[in-house]
Amino acid sequence: MIFIKLCVQYITILLTKLNYNLKSEEKTFYETKLVEVKNTCFSNDKQIEVIIETKRLIDNNSEKELSLDVISKIQFTSKYHLLRLFKRYYGQTPRQYLIDKRIEKSKQKLANGKGVSETCFEVGFESLGSFSKLLKKKQGNYLVNFKKSNFREVNNI
């Protein structure tokens, strides 16, 4: 009799625990949607790892001459495959990403008072003409005007 009672008690405790666990694992609607997205778009961990590494490679070497050929050789993948995957996971091509990265770095340098041509070559662009065109396109005329007005102030002094 005592044995059965103990058994019942044990089972009750187990059931309570199970119920508690189920409740604490209840997901919000948003979390269930995230799981769906993860399963449909981000299930290939190994592939994602390679693409994150590729992005870091660009981050750390953006001032160097970086072509898709070089990057794909380092990553041991075909360049078109890498291009497609990068675009799929980051929403832009490695080239677009690299240009944005360089522009971001040039913004900092220009704001710190560095000259336009010096900045251009330091961040990795090869032509001054295409750099100022890019700046205008990506930043409006803000930075170029900013540099010009800096010049005027210096000249006036």
């Binding site: 919000t28 609607f29 948003y30 979390e31 995230l34 997205v37 993860k38 778009c41 981000f42 994602i48 693409i51 994150i52 992005k55 996971y89 980051y90």
Partner: protein, 131 residues
């Protein structure tokens, strides 16, 4: 055209101002009276002071559908908006120490790491770090 403003609905503008400046670290940019105790209240990110302004608007107090929508998002765990951070884990630790409640701890999915907290003004807010 330029994108300069992002608005977040809040139930109590003063409470929101305190939370967003003291805990999240935003800076007050504009504060002008709009009558009836309402304010045009905007903040900017400390790390990007010429970036877009964050408008803390009292819409849920004046327009019922906004309140219903905000409540439904909160209930479903959906973030109203998201902010970029350099390091989600570090920001999570910093905010936990300030008693901020998180509904999702730092989690990795694909090329991002994210976490979701309650802004105490009616919204879930997501922090995102691009990996």
């Amino acid at each position: 055209m330029k994108v300069t403003l992002i608005s977040i609905p809040v139930r109590d503008q003063e409470k929101a101002l305190q939370f967003y400046t003291k805990k999240l670290g935003f800076l007050l940019k504009k504060d002008a009276p709009l009558g009836g105790g309402n304010r045009w209240l905007t903040l900017v990110s400390k790390d990007w002071q010429d970036g877009p302004e964050l408008l803390l608007e009292p819409a849920p107090n004046h327009f019922e559908p906004c309140k219903v929508f905000q409540d439904a998002l909160l209930e479903a765990g959906y973030p109203y908006t998201q902010f970029d951070v350099d390091d989600v884990d570090a920001e999570y630790e910093r905010l936990i120490a300030l008693d901020v409640q998180f509904s999702i701890k730092p989690t990795t999915m694909g090329t991002v790491k994210y976490a979701v907290f309650n802004d105490t003004c009616g919204n879930n807010i997501q922090l995102v770090e691009t990996l």
